[in-house]
């Protein structure tokens, strides 16, 4: 339907955004006449984490490297699963409970590839991208998140463990 190449459309989505994610806009870019399956993942801010009541999150990133790494992850996934479309965007700044912190969209001819690639992309972004969340709690305190703890097992901050085995 849309004549531009998927890579050109992908390039139009910024990897980091200080504004709320435009999910409808991203989905509208995710149609492709050869794609029978589109999978979207939205990571949203929960109202509690490890038993503490969360007021909001604040994300910080190191943009030069985050941009490059996310583009690279999307390119690897596109190649590996033959995707027609791969898009991702992560919020920086303050994100409220119930709002989207990160979106990944994949589109492929058949559904197995779109699901697998989508999971691969979000797993790698969460483990590897230089993006950090600070949890602000309803009691006024805050704490920096520490999701990726792979180095405690691998002994190397650049080696990660993925439960889906990719």
């Amino acid at each position: 339907m849309i004549p531009s190449s998927s890579s050109r459309r992908a390039a139009a989505v910024r990897a980091l955004s200080a504004e709320p994610v435009d999910m409808a806009g991203m989905l509208a870019r995710a149609h492709h006449p050869g794609a029978g399956a589109v999978v979207l993942f939205s990571g949203e801010v929960r109202n509690s984490n490890r038993g503490r009541a969360v007021a909001f999150l604040e994300y910080e990133a190191y943009p030069p490297l985050a941009d490059k790494l996310i583009a690279e992850i999307l390119a690897v996934a596109t190649e590996k699963w033959g995707l027609h479309i791969a898009l991702a965007q992560h919020r920086v700044g303050r994100v409220e409970v119930g709002d989207t912190a990160v979106v990944v969209i994949t589109a492929s001819a058949h559904r197995a590839e779109a699901y697998a690639a989508n999971r691969y992309i979000i797993d790698r972004i969460k483990h590897e991208a230089p993006i950090w969340k600070c949890e602000h709690y309803t009691d006024g305190s805050h704490e920096w998140g520490n999701n990726c703890n792979c180095h405690a097992v691998t002994g190397d901050p650049s080696k990660h463990i993925y439960e889906t085995g990719h």
Partner: protein, 77 residues
């Protein structure tokens, strides 16, 4: 050399500062950072280092005009 730190590392260091003394590689850099705050050891052991948009390892030869970015474990998503 200039140092930029992020996220939890800001509990140990200023976000941006000029490092006294020259570190020729990341191992030497870690030692200089521990001299500033010796409580940061465990945190630093989990960090990666970058110059511009590339990760670097201990083989990478640092020079005094580099800005070195210290990257704690990711907690995006």
């Amino acid at each position: 050399m200039k140092i930029h730190v992020y996220a939890g590392l800001k509990d140990y260091f200023q976000p941006e500062f000029e490092l006294e003394g020259l570190a020729r590689n990341t191992d030497e850099l870690k030692k200089l950072l521990l001299a500033i705050n010796d409580k940061a050891g465990k945190m630093l052991a989990s960090c990666r280092f970058a110059v511009e948009e590339g990760f670097i390892d201990n083989q990478f030869k640092l020079n005094e005009h580099d800005t070195i970015v210290i990257i704690p474990p990711s907690s995006g998503g």
